[in-house]
């Protein structure tokens, strides 16, 4: 074969891969360095959580729901509780609705900061990964301070929440918000003005508005393509009903929408600020009152066991629209429980955004939808010799960044 001929081959990325963090298999067909076709398969970490749930009572399921995802362990219990409350016609006290929003927005801040770090890492920019995750520690500290744990918070309860936020705790939350106001400018400067980040993300992994609509894409990925849908804005739940949330698109900042990786970064960055503002408002406007519909769990369980109805909830998780559907038939355990996490919907975008990409861009493009596979939950390794390991992909990524910088420098020199 002559060197000028572009070799066609198929590469299996995953199920274990540095760009994915969780098991998923993406099979890319390439011609030379260009991706020509993509297929994917899920299920590597399917734990049968819904099946297990159908053998538990609703209070026990709450703890299962919290373990669907290591990041969205407010969003899943919130969606589960809201679905049960819908089926059982339980009214959540207003203060609990505000507390739910505060916990959910703290989760969004930590999730989006986690994404920004992952995105930087995929670009070969590990100093930014470390900075972003250092910054993220502050919100995790506050989550621990308020709930007792950094990750599995166990703070939601059917009919309300388990822990209130006391007046004595508020100064620490305000201090955290002040800290983020200070570092936010620096984060914006890094992600929006750095030429290297722009070079690696602008016009890469484009998802058009029409593609996003047809594929039913959700969350920041959809908003980055210009679709102004956000469950917090569209569908009243918790205290979002009072807060007049406006869906953020890249046009909010730049007056243009390209639907590329850069736009997905912009949306999440702006949503960090939006979450800070929402928390501030909740702290100011949260009414006094009870925090749960029924504090005695035995009584609550008796009430739930009598329910013969179905309920459904929509929640805007950090990655987008999350759904829980539940059906009870006056028994200990529900007869149906369905979870649909945002990545389940957003996986449909993977073939579209990877098509025509350079191989070195695959990690950042996949990471740009901020996939969460544990939430979503296989493929065939076509040729074991062509599986790229972490070192090789990192090397390709660094090479591309350097080549782009050199090309740019040459271009400027010619000017």
């Amino acid at each position: 074969m002559r060197l000028s001929e572009k070799k066609k081959c198929s590469i299996a990325i995953g199920p274990i891969h540095p760009a994915l963090k969780e098991p998923i298999q993406i099979e890319v067909k390439i011609e030379g360095e260009k991706v020509t076709d993509v297929d994917f398969a899920l299920g590597h970490v399917h734990r049968g959580i819904e099946w297990i749930g159908l053998r538990r009572n609703p209070l026990q399921i709450l703890y299962l729901a919290e373990r669907v995802c290591g990041i969205c362990n407010i969003s899943h219990p919130l969606a589960f509780c809201t679905a049960i409350e819908n089926a059982a016609n339980i009214k959540v006290p207003e203060r609990a609705e505000y507390l739910r929003v505060i916990y959910a927005e703290l989760e969004r801040i930590h999730s989006h900061l986690l994404f920004l770090g992952v995105a930087a890492h995929e670009l070969g920019f590990d100093s930014i990964l470390h900075y972003t995750w250092l910054v993220r520690e502050k919100v995790l500290d506050i989550i621990e301070y308020l709930t007792g744990n950094r990750i599995t918070k166990a703070v939601l309860m059917i009919g309300g929440v388990r822990r209130d936020i006391t007046k004595e705790q508020i100064p620490k939350i305000k201090e955290m918000l002040k800290y983020y106001e200070k570092v936010y400018k620096k984060l914006c400067n890094i992600f929006l003005d750095d030429p290297t980040i722009k070079l690696r993300t602008r016009d890469i992994g484009v998802l058009t508005k029409e593609q996003a609509l047809k594929l039913c894409i959700v969350g920041p990925t959809a908003r980055a393509s210009g679709i102004k849908k956000d469950i917090r804005q569209d569908f009243p739940y918790a205290a979002y009903a009072d807060l007049k949330i406006e869906a953020i698109t890249p046009a909010t900042l730049l007056n243009e929408i390209r639907g590329d990786v850069f736009d997905r970064v912009i949306v999440r960055l702006l949503e960090v600020k939006q979450s800070m503002d929402i928390i501030k408002r909740c702290l100011k406007e949260m009414p006094e009152g009870p925090i749960t519909h029924e504090p005695v769990l035995q009584k609550l369980l008796v009430e739930l066991k009598q329910v013969a109805n179905e309920g459904i909830a929509l929640v805007e998780a950090p990655r987008g629209e999350l759904i829980h559907y539940i059906r009870m038939e006056s028994s200990e355990a529900p007869v149906a429980w369905k979870i649909r996490a945002p990545t389940y919907a957003n996986m449909h975008a993977i073939p579209a955004i990877l098509k025509d990409c350079q191989l070195a861009d695959v990690p950042i493009v996949v990471a740009s939808i901020d996939p969460c596979i544990s939430c979503t939950n296989r493929a065939i390794i076509a040729d074991k010799n062509t599986v790229l390991n972490q070192e090789k992909l990192h090397e390709l990524s660094v090479k591309k960044t350097l080549a782009l910088i050199n090309d740019k420098a040459k271009g400027e020199g010619n000017d």
């Binding site: 398969a41 299920g43 049968g48 819908n86 609705e97 039913c216 205290a239 649909r340």
Partner: protein, 173 residues
């Protein structure tokens, strides 16, 4: 268009195609803002026509997911749509219920209308053993060692025999 106006249009558009059309509202926040959930049943032979009609109400109806459960003699599949989205407080969460006979559960694909339904339909095929006409071949979640086992069924084809071996070391054989 607010949610109530949209529901009126939806009801009118689907009047001849669905039964048990019901609207459930819940109130949230100090503003007591209402969230609207609409439920309806459709015949398994006509449900695709109902989905087609949603396109006359919105250019791109948002298909969220389908859920389902084994009801004994039937398998119920529920198609959940988030309609009238991108409008503040106006989203209508519409669920269309389709009952399929347990003996030979079969339905048409909607992926020709809604490409974003692909993962959900493959999941129903793998977890309930439903034949979905027109859906692209290939598995999404379960591996071939689970062939003939449909985990979400509550009958002999369900996952009970696998569950017994969950802690035995050589689990799924």
């Amino acid at each position: 268009m607010n949610a109530e106006e949209f529901i009126e249009k939806l009801k009118k558009e689907l009047a001849n195609d669905v039964s048990n059309f019901r609207v459930v509202t819940t109130e949230h926040g100090l503003s007591k803002s209402k969230a609207y959930r609409v439920w309806a049943d459709a015949d398994s032979k006509n449900f695709k026509n109902v989905v087609r009609k949603l396109f006359s109400l919105q250019e791109y109806p948002h298909f969220s997911v389908s859920s389902g459960f084994d009801a004994g003699k039937t398998i119920e599949i529920l198609l959940h749509f988030a309609l009238n989205y991108a409008n503040p407080k106006a989203l209508v969460l519409f669920t269309l219920r389709v009952k399929l006979p347990k003996q030979r559960p079969k339905m048409k694909t909607i992926t020709d209308l809604v490409p974003g339904a692909m993962i959900s339909e493959k999941e129903k095929r793998e977890f309930f053993g439903i034949e979905i006409e027109g859906l692209a071949p290939g598995k999404m979640f379960l591996d071939d060692s689970l062939s003939g086992v449909y985990p979400w069924r509550r009958d002999s084809k369900g996952a009970n025999k696998i569950a017994k071996n969950l802690h035995s070391g050589d689990a799924i054989e």
